[in-house]
């Protein structure tokens, strides 16, 4: 099966579409301009349109045959109402620093994933335990993209978005079936409340992630995401992104096993860099085929042509 993700704004939606197991997705005709209804079979989901307007929180909800999740707002406080068939209604408070909630959806292991924003640049990730009606994890990230099977979340590790020198994108994977502590393999001791150093590093493998900071990194040493987020394959076994480092761009494919073990392979795609520089390259379309990946590389600098390329899986080299 070929999966064609067309834009970063749709990654989350696409992931959800795959989650509903190939059912036909149709936007509700009466959906207001500021929200999107996604409906399929017995599942109804309402997510935000991606803009940041915390003073106009959109109506966010999720509903399947087992559970109804609804964002509630009262006196400036937000909470998630959990209505599980045959169980008592529960309510989970959303942390104050989440200025806007963008989506709530059920994931694996009777959990739900809430994605929001703490400001225009930083996402908040909250994992809810639907059984107990509690927060099982909470952290900050950039570019969170859930796998179609709702098992994993690829994201960029948090750093303050402004007035901080030498920021670096570090790519992480969160296993939604595991506990908060299990999702902090780089930390020891009491680490489950760390909202920063979360997830399993996926690329590059040799950076000494356990001690590597993601601020104060020399400009020519910093890794930067140069794709419009992460592009999951429909089988949730791999995802793709592009990384710029020292003036070169690599297309990185991360293989994910069910256990959460990851392997990264990469191919240099610097030939796709626009004349203005590799910083302007932005992979915005990915098509998975049986033998490889077709990508489109846009230039973020106006007036430069798009480029595309097909990379055979066999051309991707293991990252040491």
């Amino acid at each position: 099966m070929t999966t064609f993700y067309t834009s970063p704004e749709k990654v989350m939606k696409s992931a959800y579409q795959a989650f509903v197991a190939g059912a036909i997705i149709a936007a509700t005709a009466i959906a207001p301009a500021w929200a999107q209804d996604v409906s399929a079979s017995s599942v109804q989901v309402r997510v935000s349109d991606g803009s940041f307007h915390p003073d106009h929180q959109q109506a966010i909800s999720y509903e399947d045959q087992d559970v109804v999740l609804k964002l509630l707002q009262e006196s400036g406080k937000s909470s998630v109402q959990i209505d599980w068939t045959g169980r008592p209604r529960r309510e989970v408070t959303v942390p104050d620093e989440i200025a806007q909630v963008d989506s709530i959806q059920r994931v694996v292991n009777e959990r739900a994933l809430l994605l929001g924003h703490v400001n225009a640049s930083v996402s908040a990730v909250m994992v809810l335990d639907l059984k107990s009606g509690s927060v099982s994890d909470y952290f900050m990230a950039s570019d969170p993209a859930m796998s179609p099977d709702s098992h994993f979340l690829a994201f960029v590790r948090f750093y303050p978005p402004h007035s901080v020198d030498g920021v670096e994108d570090q790519y992480r994977l969160y296993d939604l079936s595991k506990t908060a502590s299990e999702n902090r393999p780089l930390l020891t001791g009491k680490a489950s409340d760390d909202t920063d150093n979360v997830g399993q590093p996926v690329y590059p493998a040799d950076t000494g992630e356990a001690s590597r900071e993601n601020t104060g990194v020399a400009e020519d040493q910093a890794h930067r995401l140069t794709s419009q987020g992460f592009f999951w394959a429909s089988n949730s076994r791999r995802f793709i992104f592009a990384d710029e480092h020292s003036g070169r761009v690599a297309l990185v494919m991360v293989g994910v096993e069910g256990s959460g073990r990851v392997t990264a392979k990469a191919a240099d795609i610097s030939r796709l860099c626009p004349a203005s520089g590799c910083e302007y390259l932005s992979v915005d379309k990915v098509i998975y085929t049986a033998a490889g990946i077709t990508i489109r590389a846009k230039s973020l600098h106006p007036g430069e042509p798009d480029k595309s390329a097909h990379i055979e899986f066999s051309k991707l080299a293991a990252v040491k």
Partner: protein, 408 residues
Amino acid sequence: MFGITPAHAAGESIDAVTPDVTYTINPGQYIIFSFKWVCNGGLSGPYNEPVTGTPYMGGQLSPYNGLTATLSPNPGTSNVDTESLTITAANNAVPGTYPIVVDGVGNPAEPCPTYTYPQFPQTLTLVVQGATVTINSADLVGNNITVTTQGGSGTSGTLVLTAHGASNTVTASANNGAAVGPGTYHISLDRPNIPMDTYTTITAQWNWNATNPATTTYTLSPSWVVYGLVRHSQYNTPVESACTPGTETAYVVDSNCTFTQTTLNTNFAKQVYVNGTGQSSSYGILKYIGTACGPLSKFPAGATKKNSFLKVSAVTGSCGTALQPGISEATYPNPKVKRECGDNRVLVTSTNANEAIKSADDYCPDCRKDFNGTDGHIDNYVSSQACSANAVGDLGNFWTANTNHGSH
């Protein structure tokens, strides 16, 4: 093509073509001078003389610069009296001043002592007037392109501007597309509909003549870098006094990396951490500490990167300058790296009005994405006196262009 015949009779043309008299024509016109070369004396007495030779145009043999001079009848093909000189300006004739010289010879069989009218060489001055168009200035912020057209009285035609990008062209006309005469015109562009591209030149075409319009090309320096419709999000410096009550232990760190234990508002500390800076009530501006004071292992017990903040004198962006609320903006790639610090960006509403003029002063890593259906993403610094980002939602989507790209 139409012609002008100077008001003189044959044989009197000497008066009409004296060097101090200038004749003017436009491209697409011709002019006829009546000549009769009358030989005085010689073998046959006074007689009309066939003349041979080629007129010179501005020192060059005819034809030259779209001008052609011919003697008629052509003595080179028929031995008849030469009676006129015709100068034709083609549609593409180059405007200018041309001395015309008829440098001929009489009948060699009957040498002529003197000629009554005119003597050789015969000279006249011709001005090819034509029409010109000039782009004087092009101001995208003021949305004003000033164009001057020059030509003879009665010269008129539509005046069309075209801005040229790498893969797009945009046109605009003076006088709503109706014809205009000589004068100076201020032409505006429908900026919200200018597509994303880098525009390097503007051409003007004044269609005073269907086949020979006046044209000119104006080089935009610096180029206009049009980002198209861009999502403009906003960020602020959280203010401690605006936060709901509640305190926690924190550390304020000076430029010598001396940690001082204190208390800060709990929500404020969180906001400094997630935004990067904050305006405290007691310590001025505080900033995320990052690696400024070494690794965490060098921090005092209890101090973390979430509760330790650097004291700084100003909120600065990646360009190293103090951020100006309502003016500074954060962009991707880092303006410091791309030498775009201080580049001006004009934000234009859907009704073609200026919303703001901003300055690239900071880096926005997130702006590589989250376009939300637009062509780009820019984060704008604002002065909101709030504790968090709740009060600083998106500014909106605006057509945006960089008007001095790379000029710093």
